[in-house]
Amino acid sequence: MLFVGVLIAAAVVPQFVGPFMLSILVLIVIFAVLAMSLDLLMGYTGMESLGQAAFFGIAGYTVAILTTRYEVGWQLAIPIALVASVATAAIGAALAVRLTGVFFLVMTLVFAQVLWGLAENWGQVTGGHLGLHGITRPFDALDTDLTFYYVALGVCLVSGLVMYRLVRSPFGLTLRGIKDSDLRMRTSGYNVWLHRFIVFVIAGLFAGIAGVLYTYSTQFISPTILGVETSFEAMLMVIVGGAGTLTGPVIGAAVVTGLRNYLSVYLDNWLIVLGLAYIVTVFFAPRGILGLVPRRWRAASAVGQEPAVADPSLDVQPSPAPSGSMGRGRDRSTTAQDGQGAAETLRLEGIGKTFGRVRAVHDVSLTAFAGTRRAILGPNGAGKTTLFNLITGVHKPSHGSIHLFGRNVTSVPSHARTRMGLSRTYQITNLFPSLTVMNNVRLGILGVQRQKYVMYLPATSLDRVTERCRSLLEMAGLWDERDALVGNLSYGHQRQLELIVTLASDPQVLLLDEPAAGLSLGESKAMVELIKALDPHLTVLIIEHDMDVAFEVASEVTVMHLGEILAEGTAEEIRANETVREVYFGQAYA
């Protein structure tokens, strides 16, 4: 309702305002597009970029240069400008995307500055410090500012709608997953670098669209547009309005642009006010204006609302063995087999990892087959979790090799291993706290699906995925909590969900890192039941400190100590082993 009201206002109000106000409104609309593009990066993917001005400016300059110096018509100038901003964004992404946090921030800043320098110093082409004037608008009709406003508004609306669809699509969901837990995404099968690259380029494209509008609007361009201040202002707009909402940045654009243009007329030193605006926003409205609005007034958050289940009497049988139901092809070369003819799934040969002077894991060898249930035990610091990190590719081994289904995966990245059929849970719950339970499972499923790249359909419309979510959640009794934000779930439910999300990627080799950690007796029992109900063909390696859980689930045991394997055997053998007792159980445990 609010949206419709604003839309009507945006369409009607300009008819009644003077030319100065109108020019401000046009700028607001243009910067709204720029701010939304930054929100895609910042608010949804967690990539805080100070470089959007680069793509804004490159498109603007391309239009300006082509139009004034080479007299190229707008039909060519605009597409070329957009291609320029996409190409520049691709280069920027190649340089910056593998960086995170402060490094990423600084890199994007410096990137924009280099382009600023280009504009400032390459006078022949760009007009240097004074910029370029007299850029003619595409149609004579557009010379009327009011007409131009409506065109700009139209472009803004279309851009907004496209971005809106994008954030609600499966791809959009993956972005939010990356923001919450980059690591979890990688080990769920997502090529996180690629997703970041793609969204960076898309954001660059929209920034370019805004840049083209800007140049035609002001009919003038100068290096300031590529400067630090523009990038910072875009960020201010996103934060003032409210990141991660798409509507927030539009509000932010209105506030900041209005402030800047209105104030600068009345106050000589209005920059002080702008400076204060930055400070005030950070301390008093960190979530922006939208963050101050009570929750129930806000539109349903992105992919939050689930469609009602069509037939409530439809009793979907909980499938205890989620395997191969999504028909995903898997690379399985001929492998060794164990005594009962089960295929080898995982083999470690002399694996080791040293961090500086600390030898976390040393010379560990292990072979597992389909159906293996092996517990990895050992005191804290034995190297168990590091071992899992090595197997999943989170760390690169200092020596040794890892083989999955007979294939050497030692240098294969985490997400590729997951797609081959490897999956893990984390000792410290690693889920997506700002997303619903349902979406967490969705991400688990999509990790190994091509559909994760779909950008035009809502994520909720993938019926097969939704059905699978349902069967997985019902297995753990979490279906009723599907719309709850994971951050609000109880610890026990989170641990269960952790397992479900891991199972969602349909693994053949499952690594469980202390699944019962912190659970009460009852909850542990439920967890054990869940694990025991798993497909008997799965290979399961489980790290546990809770002996009851470990021996219930596993038939074979490996004990680690100080990074090496201390003993191996059946549960009874290990229980009886003197050395193991001394090192681990202590004299009291019989």
Partner: protein, 284 residues
Amino acid sequence: MEEWAIRILTGVTYGGLLFILASGFTLGLGIMKIINIAHGAIYLLTAYVAWTVFQDTGSFLLTIIVCCVVGGVLALALYAGLLQRLHDQPLRQILVTMGATLIIAEFGVIWWGGYPRTLPPPGSLAGAMSVGVVSFPTYRLFLLVAAIVVAILLSLLLERTRVGALVRASVDDEEMARGMGVNVGRLYLFVFAITGVLGGLAGGLGAPFLGAFQGAQFEVLLLALLVSVVGGLGSIKGAFVAALLIGVIDSVGKSIFPDLAYFTLFVPLILVLAIRPTGLFGKA
């Protein structure tokens, strides 16, 4: 041969200036993990101050001292007023210090107008002296010497003094340091004030070279960022090496490819980031 000597000297002495400009910023980043965008603004303000003080007193020594004090006070104000509550929140630090930059720069306009001010190198340091076979501006050589002195003093402060060890420990594990009776708040104030003093020093020493002008707040910031990123965010040693490297590549590049003047500054950045994304001496 002489040409090359001049090129190298120009580069190395420019590198000296770059290090001095960047040192405060790198210290704040390396020790306290604070990104002070207003670092360039501190340069701007203190460079204007240098112009005023030198005009009125003619004493370069006094000018430098006043600049250092002003820089220190400014940094203290920034920390106590804004940054103290924003530890470990880089984005907020950046936004808040950006706001401060705008405000400080605007005061520069209010008090000194929008015009650039330049300062001639003070008497004894003006002119040129002979270095081997060539004649080279004395002030530039002075900058190099100053840079070396600052680098040595800084590393001594951090590595060899008790204060330095306490600071490093506090940043590593603040709770633990507090538990051991370290007055962490006061320590942080002290360190951040030093970053301001360094910023002021940059303003005082840099004014005869770069001048004081609107726009310096971003240009100096960019240089500081460049040096820090290439050297490795947070490494003083890295910043020193990076500054010299950038200075030399810039100088040599400019003289061979004058058309690409602005970009020669960024060549080291691109090279380093392509090979070692965390910078020359950076920790991952």
